[in-house]
């Protein structure tokens, strides 16, 4: 069944010529279960990655006249070449000047910037076999120095990024694809295999395009010497004025910008440095700045600052999730000098009853209400966003009595000290996380509930710089997972779950053999999951692909080796009259041209 058939069918359900039951029956015939079929109906329309009305209306009727826009980044940027941008701050700072073909809107759909339109099967941009995508470029776009933007520039970015001598950090997006110039305003990207997630090269942060005429002399080992690495010439709404690495970036209105009536502000200042709390104060309390990035501050404090009524906190949905892992392997047995070895089994967590009880013992409601606030809505799913990939099949519950019943039924008997045991295995677990106030609170809440079910949690907190390091010699890193349980946040780099859901495939196991670089840290293995992931990798039909990812979410969450706690949306602050366009799937400045101020 092709995508068109499926869409037609969904359309018929919508206009009433096909009953829901009839739809379910047909879906069952092609091997999709009822809940999934229901889901298909729900997500239909958002099934393909295209934007319609996902960006709010822009109201100013002329270019300029908006005065100054002051933005605060408590981590300052150090360089302005997007192909060398390690970390969000540098990517964002480059984005002030450089633009990609398209960016990701808040709802996880694509929005054209330098592209004339978003490729789709209907407009002939996407090939039916998923092996190529053709981008039509916007005409009449000029670089800040007056030169024309053309397909040659796009092709140059592909050559530049994949050139090993350049050593670009964006090379992962370009290495395995082929880019071909069709004509001066058309570029085709070709893939070796059918690729359902085609919007990586030339899109969003890694897709920012630099001008060929200024960089072609530096397409090699001298790439770091290019003067334009610090004095960018792009196509963006603002052009370069001055830059102090690690401090301030200044820009001014680009009078030849390719979108009508944009930009609104005459000048732009991006100030770096300080810390999250003082940044929040500078925007919300004193109004010295218009926008502050990434406010990792307790919600209690943000609410108190907001009470000054100068600014507001922006919560933007993204894929980040705070979750607990229950180790599949035994952290206390050493095999060939390696703990948590994949040939071992965790003595207690190998019993599904224990895992189920553990999942019942964390009060997510309390976490959301009293610890994370608006920055952490409770969730039962590992894969929460974009909405078309959200499972409706998972539920969470906090129930100590039921946990006790389950453990009693499974034969875990309380000892004299109140801790349950069975066959000399005691329910006493080391629970590690990084040093971070909300995480230590969560540990305390979990520990108390577990105690009432006869489970003793021994809490351990490791300094973040150690816990999240990739230091092979350190036993406390989260990738080694030398503990029974651990908790942290994992983020979703793209609006597509493929790179996110590979965290549970069997070929990504984190072991000594791969220096603990494997993404499957909980060391969970499941054939059905592997098969679903393989299928999703080459499934072109977006609806079926979404169904596969939902199934993967249900498998891993249903195993209870993963206990999702709260979603972690991105949090920023802005003054009341600033009208901005933000997205959890792209950089802060992905739609900077659309920012304006209401007066």
């Amino acid at each position: 069944m092709g995508e068109d058939d499926l869409r037609q069918m969904i359309g018929r359900v919508k206009n009433g010529s096909l009953s829901r039951r009839g739809f379910m029956r047909r879906m069952a015939a092609v091997g999709l279960t009822a809940p999934m079929a229901t889901q298909l109906l729900a997500i239909a329309g958002a099934g393909s990655a295209q934007a319609q009305g996902s960006v709010p209306a822009y109201r100013p009727t002329r270019r300029g006249g908006g005065g100054q826009l002051k933005v605060l980044y408590w981590q300052a940027s150090t360089l302005l070449n997007p192909h060398f941008a390690v970390g969000t701050t540098n990517q964002d700072a480059s984005r002030v000047f450089y633009e990609p073909l398209a960016g990701w809107a808040a709802d996880g759909t694509l929005h054209p910037v330098l592209a004339a339109e978003i490729p789709s099967i209907e407009n002939g941009g996407l090939s039916a076999d998923g092996r190529s995508v053709t981008w039509k470029l916007k005409r009449g776009v000029k670089w800040h120095d007056g030169q024309d933007f053309s397909a040659d520039d796009v092709i140059f970015n592909w050559e530049y990024s994949r050139n090993p001598a350049v050593a670009a950090v964006t090379s992962g997006s370009y290495r395995d694809v082929n880019a071909v110039k069709v004509d001066d305003h058309t570029v085709r990207v070709e893939f070796a295999q059918p690729t359902p997630f085609w919007a990586d090269a030339f899109v969003a942060a890694t897709g920012q395009l630099i001008p060929k005429h200024l960089f072609q002399a530096f397409n090699g080992a001298n790439s770091r010497d290019a003067p334009t690495n610090l004095r960018p010439v792009g196509t963006g709404a603002y052009r370069f004025v001055s830059f102090l690495p690690g401090d301030t970036l200044r820009a001014e209105l680009n009078p030849n910008y390719h979108m009508n009536n944009r930009p609104f502000f005459d000048t732009l200042e991006v100030k770096g440095g300080g810390d999250a709390v003082s940044a929040a104060r500078a925007v919300l309390q004193t109004g010295d700045f218009d926008y502050a990035w990434n406010l990792q501050v307790e919600d209690e404090l943000l609410k108190r600052l907001e009470a000054a009524n100068r600014g507001r906190v922006n919560i933007v949905e993204s894929g980040g999730i705070e979750f607990v892992q229950l180790n599949c392997t035994d952290p206390n047995r050493e095999i060939d000098g390696e703990r948590s070895h994949i040939s071992t089994q965790h003595p207690a967590f190998s019993d599904p009853a224990v895992r189920q009880a553990m999942a019942l013992l964390i009060d997510r409601n309390a976490l959301e209400q009293f610890i994370y606030g608006r920055g952490g809505p409770a969730t039962a799913n590992f894969l929460n966003n974009p909405p078309r990939f959200t499972s409706r099949n998972m539920r969470w519950e906090f129930n100590i009595a039921r946990a006790n019943e389950i453990l009693d039924a499974a034969g875990w008997v309380r000892g004299r000290d109140g801790i349950r045991a069975k066959n000399n295995v005691r329910l006493r677990f080391i629970y590690q996380t990084s040093v971070n106030a909300p995480r230590q609170r969560t540990q305390a809440v979990y520990k108390q509930a577990a105690q009432r079910a006869g489970i003793d949690l021994e809490l351990k907190s490791v300094t973040a710089s150690v816990f999240f390091s990739s230091d092979v010699a350190n036993p406390d890193t989260f990738t080694k997972f030398y503990a029974d349980m651990q908790m942290y946040t994992t983020t979703m780099p793209q609006a597509d779950p493929q790179r996110f859901m590979n965290q549970y495939v069997s070929w990504e196991l984190s072991t000594r053999a791969n220096s603990w670089q494997g993404r499957n840290i909980v060391r969970w293995r499941n054939d059905e999951y592997d098969a679903a992931f393989r299928a999703a990798e080459s499934e072109i039909d977006p609806v079926k692909r979404a169904a596969l990812f939902i199934r993967m979410n249900d498998l891993i969450v249903g195993s209870n080796h993963i206990i999702p706690l709260v979603k972690r949306p991105t949090v920023s602050g802005s003054v009341n009259n600033l009208r901005h366009v933000l997205s959890g799937w792209d950089g802060t400045f992905w739609a900077l041209q659309d920012w304006w101020r209401e007066t």
């Binding site: 209690e300 404090l301 108190r304 610890i371 305390a444 021994e458």
Partner: protein, 290 residues
Amino acid sequence: MTPAGEAWRRFRKHKLAVGSAVVLGLMILAVLFGPLFWTVPIDEIDFTARLQGPSLAHPFGTDDLGQDLLARVLYGGRISLAVGFAAMGVAVTVGVLVGAIAGMSKGPVDVALMWVTDLFLSLPQLPLLLLIIYLFRDALADLVGQELGVFIMIVAVIGLFNWMQVARLVRAQFFSLREKEFVEAARALGASRVRIVVQHILPNALGPVIVAASIDVAGAILAESTLSFLGLGFPPDTPTWGRLLFDAKDNLDFAPHWAIFPGLAIFLTVLTINFVGDGLRDALDPRRVQ
């Protein structure tokens, strides 16, 4: 009048020291026996009573999980004080040993020991502490359990970084005492070296050591607080005074009571111990005439 009586008479004249001794004694009593009377559990989470200021139900208020701060301060005091006194014990033992050996031996042994002392004095303490804790915490925790392992580790580490002052004091005392007539007399009578040290020199050198020891207690309590404040040291659910401060720091704006009480406890303990040490110095100084 006995020497002890004489010392007590002098100590009593130091008003601040006497007052401090009373306050310190009260705090030690409260920490030791307080939990018997204030029986609220230290980890009872009550979200309906979060971040409350001092009240009858919670005299020190509550933290952001609604846990009773009085109970936590009392419990934390036990650990902080135990660490303080135990680390002092380690420091004084090592210091007296090194100082005595250096002070009794002439030549290369003395020089070598003083080199070692100078070396330890010049080591940056905090970075080294962090390093040692990372290297050995797990090994020790496997041996004796998490909490005891951390206790032994912190006591040992703090103790082993604070013996140098004591060693120098003891050595200096030994240098002057070993030439005194009564020591010469003992030696002439054929007393062994050990007997001369233990029976004759050491008791006379003890005054400054007691003073240095009192200051060491304060230093150790501060060091433990520093470690806990950095998120190292004891497990995160063990409410030592330093850990309580660490947890409270983000909420200083609107829940100052959370930081004030443990902070006050550290402040008072260190201050009173220093005053008591001051008083002891006056009381035990044989050359002081009054």
